[in-house]
């Protein structure tokens, strides 16, 4: 997939045209995670490791069913377990599959300074190209979901690829393939949105879960992973899913106006001293004529 340049629509740290921008139109792919039918079996976690060739390593026990506190560079798919107290005082366990959200407007890609280290394909998948990654970690600052992770041995960043290798061959991602309850779905963004809205409607009308809804945050242009939540007004309860995620304004300013202000200031400085030289020239000290040291 990485070599298929005509399928690339956005390139990080890139000065110049993008080969696939406006060339090819593809269906936007999307994962649908229905948190209301997730049983927390972690089959998706195992499938992710298996497909991507990682082995299970030492982890941190955090007094919960959760495998580890957050995703790591070689653990891209993590079910977040959250004890949640309902309004009537009873307790429920909210489980949410956490992974890269594959934002339509990816903050990692906006922040990245390395040409081609992060690309977005025409099908919407945001993928890291480790060959071009310089390991600066700017993507960490750009991401509103705490997803890119650093491998200190190789000094490269890693995250979920949405199984771009499988998807490019017409297969569904490994996590979807492994789900035993059918809470994970994969298809086009339009189909997944329809399915999610239908399910949310069903939850509201047939099960009396009044706040059920679909999480597809517009702040990042919508995401390539959408959730059906029992309570869409409180996504934070699902292990810190941000209510209104967007690229941090500091990153947007840094990569937007600050760039031009800074570049113009630097050019202005160089231009300024050049013009000063043209107008006033050097300060020369001629030892004969200035024998009195410039005093009148």
């Amino acid at each position: 997939m990485s070599q298929a340049t005509l399928q690339i629509v956005k390139i990080s740290g890139h000065a110049g045209p993008v080969p696939g921008a406006g060339v090819e139109r593809a269906e936007q792919v999307c994962k649908l995670v229905d948190t209301t039918t997730c049983i927390g079996c972690k089959a998706c976690e195992v499938a992710c490791l298996e497909w991507n060739g990682y082995t299970f390593t030492e982890t941190v026990f955090d007094n919960s069913y959760q495998t580890m506190p957050e995703t790591t560079w070689n653990y891209w798919n993590l079910i977040k377990f959250n004890e949640h107290e309902r309004e009537d005082g009873s307790v429920t366990l909210l489980m949410r599959k956490d992974q890269c959200m594959h934002c339509a407007e990816p903050g990692c890609l906006a922040a990245c300074p390395a040409d081609g280290a992060i690309v977005q394909y025409s099908n919407g998948i945001v993928d890291f190209q480790q060959a071009n990654c310089i390991g600066c970690g700017y993507c960490v600052s750009g991401c509103p979901f705490n997803i890119p992770k650093f491998n200190s041995a190789t000094k490269k960043m890693f995250k979920c690829t949405l199984c771009s290798d499988r998807v490019s061959e017409g297969l569904e991602p490994a996590c979807i393939k492994s789900c035993p309850t059918g809470c994970l779905h994969f298809g086009t963004k339009d189909d997944m949105k329809d399915l999610a809205e239908t399910r949310a409607k069903q939850l509201r009308e047939n099960f009396g879960i009044e706040k059920a809804g679909v999480y597809d945050p517009p702040g990042v242009g919508g995401t390539g992973v959408i959730y059906v939540l029992h309570d869409v007004t409180n996504p934070e309860a699902y292990g810190g899913l941000p209510k209104d995620p967007h690229i941090p304004w500091v990153v947007r300013f840094w990569k937007g106006p600050a760039k031009w202000i800074g570049n113009l200031a630097m050019l202005g400085g160089i231009l300024g001293v050049t013009l000063h030289y043209f107008r006033y020239g050097p300060k020369e000290v001629d030892s004969e004529t200035h024998e009195n040291g410039g005093q009148p």
């Binding site: 000065a15 700017y138 705490n146 024998e291």
Partner: protein
């Protein structure tokens, strides 16, 4: 101030004696700082803009640049600290500076006859020194946040945003000073560049640009016609 004693006359085509302005140690520290700063400048500009990312190729590519940029930044901080130890006394603002500052337009317009006399460093040089001094403190502190960005926990992510803001702002401020410093040291002040390489200036140069310092190191009032 024995280190600034008048050296033996040299046959440079200029009439008369030369004065030692920068000792060997001072020159070495200046150029170490220059080397480290320029490395950080080149690599920093590569990270700053896609249009300057090619600069990383000059120093071995992006990953190499990313690896060395923080280390040479720390090295620059050390050389800045040495310069601070050497020059902090000379860099304090004086009465002469305040008079000079009021007349700075004459300096800019090369109308040096109407400038009040200055000491070893003029007020502009002092501003540049303190700009770099405080600049590098901010750059190193914020740079640590960027260096180990993945070690900053998610709950403290505001530190990441703060580090970016401070690092970029401080870098821009030092670049502004750097442009003026290089321009003045190479093109504008004739004799300045050789002084930071070989250490010596002519008597006339010292009298014109740093009269109070000249009087101090020679212990004499300049001859009048």
């Amino acid at each position: 101030m024995s280190s600034h004693a008048i050296s033996s006359p040299r046959t440079t085509g200029q009439a008369g004696e030369r004065i030692l302005r920068y000792t060997l140690v001072e020159r070495v520290h200046h150029w170490m700082g220059a080397l480290f700063y320029v490395y950080c400048l080149i690599t920093g500009l590569a990270f700053w803009s896609p249009y300057m990312y090619w600069l990383a190729a000059l120093v071995g590519g992006g990953p190499t640049a990313r690896f060395w940029h923080p280390w040479l930044g720390v090295a620059f901080a050390f050389s800045m600290f040495w310069m601070y130890k050497m020059w902090r006394g000379d860099m304090a603002t004086t009465e002469a500076d305040l008079r000079w500052r009021k007349a700075v337009n004459h300096y800019i317009e090369n109308d040096d006859q109407n400038l009040p006399p200055e000491g070893r460093f003029n007020y502009g040089q002092k501003i540049f020194f303190w700009l770099m001094f405080y600049g590098v403190i901010l750059l190193v502190i914020s740079g640590i946040g960027l260096w180990f960005v993945e070690s900053i926990p998610w709950s403290l992510r505001w530190l990441r945003y703060l580090a970016v803001t401070v690092h970029v702002s401080a870098a821009m401020a030092t670049i502004g000073g750097f442009i003026i410093h290089v321009y003045m040291g190479t093109a504008m002040i004739r004799g300045g560049f050789t002084s930071i390489i070989r250490g010596e200036v002519s008597v006339a140069w010292a009298r014109t640009h740093h009269r109070l310092w000249y009087e101090q190191v020679t212990g004499k009032i300049p001859p009048r016609r």
